[in-house]
């Protein structure tokens, strides 16, 4: 399989602080690959190194088969990007901004402006000054700018920031369209549910280190899978559950009479067998369901308490600690 990005032992240090720590990943061509981690974990730093905006302290970066930064111009000639946030000249219109960037690229880029604005749904506001745009509109204009050079690879750093629910849905659709056109998309995000819906593969990062990577399905499958069951007679039910041939472990839950029978790989047969054994023993089954971890649960499990706090805060549950330690900087 061709790799549009290959990183080998990439490390970035700021003084004694290691922002990106010995990262090795391969991003397959024609896929949407997500770089997932809490804020401050080194996502943007890695992207900046990939794009030749910052130098790696050590390691090798290859983009589209070319070394970065030594062959940066060739490597990045068909790469579009949003890094950290889409920045523009606020005193110029959206179209004028794109014309300025196209002037730095090619005649083809100038010809692509109209199509790019149409694609992101900004044609009707293209004449307005960017200073009057919302964050979501600037994100969309950022994508339009990234599309000007007909990119083979799009690198989008937190691209869904500022998008409303309708915008999010449109954006997801656009990413899938771009991938269907054969382009590769590399996204960084801390919004787990978005990544789960958009990405084919992900790398989970914390404190600059890759904790796990691979296709989304494989990562979820690597997490906890179980038969969830609630019985009317826990005293007699527990031995039956422990005796199931596929049970790796039986865990009690907080709900009286409810258990999780952990299995290697969950299948419908195991649900049926669990019900059958309990019925055969004369035990009433109040609830029987498959338990599969979401990517969010898997992410929290892998990244531990600190990332969990941040992720829950992003979901609106608890505020993140201001002095929370981080493995690096996204600035």
């Amino acid at each position: 399989m061709d790799h549009v990005i290959s990183l080998r032992n990439v490390t970035k240090r700021f003084g004694s602080n290691t922002a990106v720590d010995d990262v090795t990943i391969d991003v397959p061509s024609g896929h949407c690959y997500a770089w997932l981690g809490p804020n401050g974990c080194g996502k943007t730093t890695l992207i900046r190194m990939m794009l030749g905006l910052a130098r790696a302290s050590s390691g090798q970066i290859v983009v589209r088969g070319k070394q970065v930064p030594s062959q940066g111009r060739e490597a990045l000639s068909r790469v579009g990007a949003i890094v950290e946030e889409p920045r523009f000249y606020p005193y110029l219109s959206g179209r004028a901004n794109l014309e300025i960037w196209a002037a730095h690229q090619s005649a083809d880029a100038k010809a692509a402006i109209g199509g790019a604005l149409d694609r992101v749904g900004l044609s009707s506001r293209a004449g307005d000054k960017v200073g009057s745009y919302s964050l979501g509109m600037r994100q969309r204009l950022g994508v339009a700018r990234a599309l000007l050079n007909d990119p083979e690879l799009l690198v989008l750093d937190e691209p869904t920031n500022g998008l409303d629910p309708a915008g999010l849905q449109e954006f997801r659709g656009m990413i899938r369209e771009l991938v269907a056109e054969g382009r590769s998309v590399f996204i960084s995000s801390h919004i787990l549910s978005e990544v789960e819906k958009m990405a084919d593969s992900i790398a989970i990062i914390e404190k600059g280190k890759v904790l796990a990577s691979g296709p989304v399905e494989d990562l979820i499958r690597g997490g906890r899978q179980a038969v969830g069951v609630r019985v009317d007679d826990p005293g007699r039910g527990l031995p039956v559950l422990r005796g199931l041939p596929f049970a790796r472990e039986v865990r009690e839950t907080d709900v009286p009479g409810a258990y999780e029978v952990l299995v290697e790989e969950l299948a419908d047969d195991q649900l049926l067998a669990t019900g059958r054994e309990l019925f055969a023993a004369g035990i009433g089954v109040l609830e029987l369901r498959p338990v599969r971890e979401t990517l969010e649960r898997r992410f929290l499990e892998l990244t531990g308490d600190h990332a969990g706090e941040l992720a829950r805060a992003e979901l609106g549950d608890v505020p993140p600690a201001d002095d929370a330690p981080t493995g690096g900087t996204d600035r």
């Binding site: 900046r48 940066g72 111009r73 990007a81 890094v83 920045r87 000249y89 005193y91 110029l92 730095h104």
Partner: protein, 235 residues
């Protein structure tokens, strides 16, 4: 390269506060200068163009510093770098851009000075006024754009440009007065004054040719430092 300079020109003139504000400031000073000066002919031409170019210098300090620092301060520099245009070229384009965008200001100064001079003046008077005006605006525009690239932040870049003009003149005067007239003449403000006036008289302790070379060395050094920083920086 022409497309890049055109884009840079669009960016500089789009910052209306500094561009149109600068032109307005110069126009206002010129009106006052014309009304207050009772001379005519070559004297008035020289006086009006001199006042106009020093007013223009202050405007160009702001425009130049912004041209140099704006993209880095605004976060747009990384997207310019991502276009694949070599960083040195991005830096050079800013210098050319500020030179192009000061042309309207120079023309304003010269047209007002010529139209209101009255009396008699010759081609040499006009030539001197043209040279002094363009050299002032271009030298300070380029130097302040380079300072902007070095400092990467709008406010400090503008402040440094203004301090370089006023502070540099003061330091040059002190060196000239108390240390060495020749050393004072080799400092940037001394060289700039001699070159912009095309003066070879006894007030200056070095030849005009040496002053040209000295000024070129100063500008080249400041520009080289700025381009070096643009090439080296992380965005």
């Amino acid at each position: 390269m022409i497309a890049l300079v055109r884009a840079e020109t669009r960016r500089i003139t789009g910052r209306r506060g500094s561009f149109w504000g600068g032109l307005g400031f110069v126009a206002t000073i010129l009106v006052i200068a014309v009304l207050a000066n009772g001379d005519d002919g070559a004297d008035k031409l020289e006086a009006t163009s001199t006042i106009g170019r020093y007013a223009g210098l202050l405007s160009v300090v702001v425009m130049g510093a912004l041209a140099g620092s704006y993209d880095t301060a605004n976060g747009t520099m990384r997207y310019l770098v991502l276009t694949g245009v070599p960083r040195w070229q991005l830096a050079v384009v800013r210098l050319l851009g500020i030179m192009v965008t000061t042309i309207p200001m120079a023309l304003l100064i010269l047209v007002v000075a010529l139209v209101t001079a009255g009396g008699s003046f010759d081609g040499t008077d006009v030539g001197n006024a043209v040279w002094a005006t363009f050299s002032t605006l271009w030298v300070w525009g380029v130097v302040c754009a380079a300072i902007g690239m070095l400092l990467r932040s709008n406010g400090p870049a503008i402040a440094a440009g203004v301090v370089l003009f006023f502070g540099g003149s003061l330091i040059t005067s002190l060196v000239y007065e108390y240390l060495s007239e020749t050393v004072g003449n080799y400092l940037f403000p001394g060289l700039f004054a001699q070159v912009s006036e095309l003066s070879d008289d006894d007030d200056f302790k070095i030849s005009l040719a040496a002053a040209f070379v000295g000024l070129a060395v100063w500008i080249a050094a400041i520009v080289a430092l700025a381009i070096g920083r643009v090439r080296r920086d992380e965005y």
